[in-house]
Symmetry: C2
Subunit: 105 residues, 2 copies
Amino acid sequence: MASPKRNKFSREDIRVARFAKAMSHPARVAVLRMLAAKEACYFNEISKKIPLAGSTVSQHMYELKRAGIVQDSYEPPRIKYSIDSRKWKQARRYFRDFLKIKQGK
Amino acid sequence: MASPKRNKFSREDIRVARFAKAMSHPARVAVLRMLAAKEACYFNEISKKIPLAGSTVSQHMYELKRAGIVQDSYEPPRIKYSIDSRKWKQARRYFRDFLKIKQGK
DNA sequence: ATTTTATATCGTATATTTACGAAATACGAA
DNA sequence: TTCGTATTTCGTAAATATACGATATAAAAT
């Protein structure tokens, strides 16, 4: 048998961490707020609001997609982004549960 | 005046992102769970549970301290870690509020 | 057919994160 | 004083993240 350190992290912890990572940059937090407020946004509007180069914003959008919270659809010639409600609900539940680990007194 | 991109991110978004970053690694999520469950832990116990080298665990503890969620006290020859309740409460509030940006239907 | 608009991708530079083992520190015990 | 235990810090390597401008692509407008 290998060392006892060989245990993996729990699925739950991995998921919480993944979601947290998606929110770990102010630009991505800001984008999520925009998307939530308007149901959907074209990249255009997002990029205008975020104080970073368009190519960088694009990268952040990719990260959000990769985390699964955001989806896009091609509406030529623009791309419409929106929150994936199902995934968001999931993520929110994981996070809410995690926040319960310590009660406020 | 500089370009309109020169705006900064909001304080709120920066704070959410900072706390999120603290929770963006499964090891740190696991540590927070341990601390919350037992009120406090010696480094020893934490390091035994986390499948990483002690020096790496120490680094993760430093990150949690840096984010302000965790505090330590020296009880020779050990170090006792605990969640900073005030900061945790704060973090939790920021997150709960953020999670409200989109309601579950 | 050319230009303009919208967006992604590429190439790249720099910074940060993550990880490890070895060495340092600090203390209590023998 | 020497030894053992607990923990951090150091040195360092490798991976990932962040940012930009330039270039590519695709469709719309002219």
